[in-house]
Structure formats: structure tokens, C-alpha cells
């Protein structure tokens, strides 16, 4: 992936740090704002090479809109998955069929892969064990029948459709 220019990466880091400062202080006192700006400029200068590779392109309106929409979508997925696990724990027969499955992702950037891995882990029932390029190895609480196949290709397809694809339609736009 191509790197954005230094100025763009620096500005993006400063903007994000300043937003964090606003949340942290929860105050619009002029003194707090001045100090926040100064600190964002200094810390941004020291940390931007580590923080970002794409710079201001991250703030494309479409990406921001998808990121905002992703929050409730993800929360809903999380609530449903929690209820599902609670059902499995409380059910007398304990319908658990654990297994490690292999998924593939279409995401290319590292932040995207991180977001996907965390989304998978935070929805109970699935835990990301390892990420290797575009391969995800995931521990699943109930491996459905369609993924229980000897055929590697079918297996990956079935697992990806169930685990990674629901998140990917958002993350693909947010992180590319």
C-alpha cells in the first residue's frame, strides 16, 4: 500500500489526538483547548510515523459515515452473540460443538485486519487465534454442518460467510 505524504499523516495524527483531548477533558475552556492543541502538535510530531500510513485519506466522509454506522451495527451483533452464548450455557443439553476454523478476508490494510480480529473476538462464540496475511484462524463455539467438510475450499467459504463477511462489508469501506 502506498504511503501518504508526511504532512497529511502529521495532520491526521494531530486531528485525532485533539479529538481525544476534547473527550478527555470534556471542557471547552479556552485554556484547555490551547494546551490540547499544543500537546497534539508536539505529540503528533513525535508519533505520526508510527501512528498512520494513510494520513488524511482516513477522514474521507464516506469512511467516517461507515465508521459511525458500524458502531450500532457491531453493538447489535455483540448483544445477539452474548444472548446466544447465554442460551448455550443455560441449556440443559449444552449445545456446544467447538472447533477451530479457517477463514479468509478481503481486507488489505493492517488496521482493517486488527478491527476485524477484534470484532470477531468481541462477539462471543468466536475468538481469533491467529492472523496470518489474509488467513484467520478462529475458535468457534458451534461449528455448523456446512463448515464440517473435508473440502478445504468449501470449508473456508462456509466459515468466512458466517464469521468475517458480516463485518467486512463495513470494514472494507472504512479501512480498505
Amino acid at each position: 500500500m502506498e504511503e501518504a505524504s508526511k504532512i497529511s499523516r502529521y495532520l491526521y495524527t494531530v486531528i485525532i489526538l485533539f479529538l481525544i483531548w476534547l473527550f478527555l477533558t470534556a471542557s471547552t475552556d479556552a485554556q484547555e483547548l490551547e494546551m490540547g492543541l499544543v500537546l497534539s502538535l508536539i505529540i503528533g510530531a513525535l508519533t505520526y510515523p508510527i501512528f498512520t500510513t494513510r494520513g488524511l485519506a482516513n477522514l474521507h466522509p464516506k469512511r467516517v459515515a461507515y465508521a459511525v454506522a458500524y458502531a450500532p451495527y457491531f453493538l447489535w451483533a455483540m448483544i445477539m452473540a452474548n444472548l446466544d452464548v447465554a442460551y448455550r450455557v443455560l441449556h440443559p443439553a449444552r449445545p456446544i460443538r467447538p472447533g477451530i476454523v479457517h477463514c479468509k478476508t478481503v481486507l488489505k490494510t493492517n488496521p482493517g485486519k486488527l478491527a476485524l480480529a477484534n470484532s470477531i473476538t468481541l462477539t462471543p462464540g468466536t475468538i481469533t487465534l491467529d492472523v496470518d496475511d489474509d488467513d484467520y484462524f478462529i475458535h468457534w463455539i458451534w461449528v455448523p454442518d456446512e463448515a464440517l467438510t473435508e473440502n478445504e475450499e468449501e470449508h473456508v467459504k462456509a466459515a468466512s460467510r458466517n464469521i468475517t463477511e458480516p463485518f467486512e462489508k463495513f470494514l472494507k469501506v472504512i479501512f480498505g
Binding site: L17, I20, T25, D29, L39, I43, P111, L114, V131
Partner: protein, 235 residues
């Protein structure tokens, strides 16, 4: 067995002895002598809302200078004990993409939060030492996630020294203006920030000293981490 039971008996005797002496101190009663003075005068004498930082930096600034010195000696001591001619990181396993990207994204936030803690030392709990430790944690994060990460040594050592000297210089300026070491000249002489106690730009020299301490502690602890994570390389 005999050794262990003897040790347990000794500890019980010491514990009983300490409990006996503490039983004479009543709990929850107003025993403040100096403490009441601090609480009554902290705002108009130092400008700080946080009484703890006012005592630590302003009323008893010498203690803090001593603590900073202790930390500096600890860092130098670790450096001297682990001194080798050729040192290298010898970690073998690279972290997964989740770990490395996660620490990359967290790094600026942790540094910002550390600065937030030491800048607000006179208003909220915290101050230079927790803030500096938080900043060092950010560097620990990078050390843990990446096999070959190293702090920029030259810059770090110089910043550490300059921050320490800055602390002493603030104290010496107080000596020149007010007549004794660590005299709060910004508050007492300049009256700077007296109008807005409780807002950010107040508190006399406490924020300035805590910024210096935060930078010093942050770079120092990062240096200790760096020293401890490296191993000797044999040809």
C-alpha cells in the same frame, strides 16, 4: 520445617507488637496539626486545587527533588550493572499483526494521556510520576510488540538530563528571586494565574515542574526497559 515455624512465630510477634503500638492511635478523629494548615492555605499560597501535589511540589519540594534523584540513580545503576560493549535485542518471535497494529495505534493515545496526567497535576489526582510512568508504558508497548524496536537513545538521554536540569533551574530562579530554593516565584512574585484558580493556567510553578518531572520519568523508565531487554551479543 523448624526454620519455617520459627519465621512464622517471629513474624507473629512483630505483627502483634506493631498492632499494640497502633492501638493507641484513635481512628477517625481529627488529629491534624500541620494538615489543617495545608488545607486552609493551599489555594491562596500555591494556587493548586489538588492539595497533595501542592504539598509534594511546593511545600515540600525538596522531597520530590530527592525522589527524582533516586530515580535517576536507579536508572544509572541499572545502566551500569547491565553495561556491555555490544548489546542487541534478542527477541525471536515477531508478534502477530493484531499485536503490532494495536500497539501502533495505541501509542500516541497513551503518550497523550500521560501528558494529560502531568499537565493537570495541580487539578486532578496524578502528577509527574504517574504521567511519566504512563509514557514509559507506551514505549514498553512498542518494545513488547516489535522485535527490533529501540528508543532513540541520544535524544532520550539528552531530554532526560535537560528536564532534570530544568527542575533545578526553576528552584534556583526561586532562590534568586525569593531568597530560598524552590521558592514559587511564578505564584508569589509574578502573581501569574491568581485570577483563575481551578483552571488550567494556574497553580504557580507546579504544572511546569510536573511537566519536567513527567518528561524525565518517562524517558528514564524507558531507558531502564531498554537496558533490561537487551542481551550481550557474542561474536
Amino acid at each position: 520445617m523448624l526454620k519455617r515455624s520459627l519465621a512464622i512465630i517471629t513474624i507473629l510477634i512483630i505483627g502483634y507488637w506493631l498492632a499494640q503500638s497502633l492501638a493507641g492511635v484513635p481512628f477517625g478523629e481529627d488529629k491534624m496539626l500541620v494538615g489543617q494548615y495545608y488545607l486552609d492555605h493551599v489555594k491562596d499560597q500555591t494556587g493548586a486545587v489538588n492539595a497533595v501535589t501542592a504539598i509534594v511540589v511546593n511545600y515540600r519540594g525538596f522531597d520530590t527533588l530527592g525522589e527524582v534523584t533516586v530515580l535517576f540513580i536507579a536508572s544509572t545503576g541499572v545502566g551500569a550493572l547491565l553495561w556491555r560493549k555490544r548489546k542487541k535485542r534478542t527477541a525471536k518471535t515477531e508478534g502477530s499483526v493484531v499485536l503490532t497494529t494495536g500497539s501502533e495505534l495505541l501509542f500516541p493515545f497513551v503518550v497523550l494521556f500521560g501528558s494529560y496526567i502531568f499537565i493537570h497535576g495541580h487539578l486532578t489526582p496524578g502528577g509527574g510520576f504517574p504521567g511519566g510512568a504512563t509514557i514509559a508504558t507506551a514505549f514498553l508497548l512498542l518494545y513488547m510488540a516489535f522485535v527490533s524496536y529501540e528508543i532513540p537513545h541520544k535524544a532520550f538521554e539528552k531530554t532526560e538530563g535537560l528536564a532534570g536540569m530544568g527542575y533545578v533551574l526553576v528552584g534556583l530562579t526561586g532562590l534568586a528571586i525569593g531568597g530560598y530554593f524552590l521558592f514559587d516565584w511564578i505564584w508569589q512574585t509574578w502573581q501569574w494565574g491568581t485570577g483563575n484558580i481551578g483552571r488550567l493556567f494556574s497553580g504557580g510553578f507546579i504544572p511546569i515542574i510536573y511537566t519536567l518531572i513527567g518528561i524525565k520519568v518517562g524517558t528514564e523508565l524507558s531507558g531502564i526497559i531498554d537496558n533490561m531487554l537487551k542481551e550481550e551479543v557474542r561474536e
